[in-house]
Amino acid sequence: MKVKAARLIADRKLLVIIIALLVILSVADRNFFTLQTFVSLFDHIAINGVMAAGMTILLISGSFDLSVGSVMAVTGIIIVLSQQFGMLASVLLGVAAGTAIGALNGVLVVKGKINAFIVTLGTMIIFRGLGLVLTNSHPVKGSIAAFQVLSQASFLGIPLPVFYLVVVYAAVWYVLRSTKFGRNDFAIGGNAVSSRLAGIRVDLYTFLYFVVCSFMAALAGVLLTSRVNTGSAVFGDQTPMLIIAAAVLGGTSLFGGKGTVIGTLQGVLILGLIERAMVIFNVNTNYQLLVRGTIIIAVIVTDALTTKRREGAAAAAG
């Protein structure tokens, strides 16, 4: 009960920030408060959002993945380079390659018993390097016009990426809440040793969470490649930190065992709104980092304080 109540408050805190940002931006820019703006906002956060959903699953299990930006870049490069085999084949190849990086991460962490931070730091560098080798350091340009439709077209006035975002979040929300895959995620993140004693195949599931995280990053790679019709090894350089920040802002614990995908979505949305605010207020983008960091710290500190106070009150009552 306690945990649930605290989580509810955390959720509402983010909603307050989101509403506050919406109010500020609507007053500051008369062109802002339109359906068009909200739609484009979700369009803009789709790529990071999809990746952050996968990262949330992995973070809940107590692991970590720094290689997602490289996965996104490599996926895009392979899609563009294999477009001669047709659109579907190229997308499948790209996603398979990206997902395979997650499998490698998973094997190294589980079988090699190496810290996830170190493994994914290594694969992050290796696969960015592979991207540079594959492209000979030149960004590669896509040749299939139809592929661009995937993330540039709209349906009923709503850009397609918004639909993907909704589908991904609905799916991850369901999986985390109502499947063994999701329950084991929280159990392993909460306490891997007792999970193992309880008969959960910790290694297998940890491996799968890495695979899923990379799979989502690969999907983000598909969206990005379709959006810019280009594959490049420099794409997604700063993405891992950004999406981990979004997940943490959304209440996911870096130590595992705790997190919601709806919180992550709110985190991504807040970061997206801050980005938009920088344009509307015409302030130097450097302040974006200050604002972003301040909000993250503020939310986490108040989170910690309210949880502690509640626990204190409960202890006093008991």
């Binding site: 506050a20 490049s232 344009v279």
Partner: protein
Amino acid sequence: MKAGKILIIVCLALAVIAVTAGAQKKVTIGFSMPFVEDSPYFFPYTQAVKKEAAARGWDLIMTDAKSDLNTQVNQIEDLVAKGVQGLLIVPLDAAGIVPVINKMYAQTKGKLPMITSNVMTDPPQLKSLVAFAGPNSYLEGKAMGDYWVHYFQKKGLTKVNYCEMAGKAGYSAAIDRRKGFQDRVRELGWTDKFVLFESQPGDWNADTAQKIMENWLTTYGDKIQFVYCHNDGMALGVVKALQDAGKNPGDILTNGCDGQVEAVELVQQGWMLFTVFQSPATDAKTATDTLARILKGQKVDYYTYMETPVIDKANADKYLPIVTEIWGTK
């Protein structure tokens, strides 16, 4: 929820300030930058664009994508959503920026004038763009290749070993400066005479370039006859490595591109053979002039190239005060 209430009050106050501040009507111009920090070029460039915009009475909204293409695409869409009347774009990626330019063209039904500056799109000529204004990295590469070939030709050499200190992998200036160099060397029939030992990305960074140069000195030593550098910043690192290794000016020569103060001084001292002067101020002026003429309804050429003169020992004294003025002191 007390904290929430306070937040809302603060927000409303900020909003009121924002509204009163932005009340006056001006021409609003969007200015989309790929990155600014860590770039000795883009800092004076953005300063010059701001100055030019202020002189013209424009309300300039600048965005900085911090080297992330997806962010730049978002920012361009946001600028258009904000209702800018002109858009000046420095693409992070030549090909990757094209879809959003086309999308914005369609969205504004071709009514929003958009130009690119400094970095050309790929393909360079787009129906959705009005103009490109800025330097031509390919021609700079050609000028550098030309200078090196003629230098060694005059010396009567027939075989020259060199290393290439390339710009950040994937960046168009690096790609074009390499291609321009190679093409010019081929045109002059020197492809077989120039032996490339190694090409490494020095990431436009002096420290990175210095480390690479130290490795090259260990591997190839004095067999290297020159180092083809894609910009001045890396040339400074190369020279530092040579100085640390106890070399004398002219033992192993290098070149630069940009025309920074330190580089011009190294040209005077004989460490560098030449540099190509790409003035960020001229670049900014070329871009804003072009956009201003478009806004006035004048017809402009699709390509407006800025001048990029070569600075060598013969004219370094003349250029030193000019470059000092433009780059300023750090």
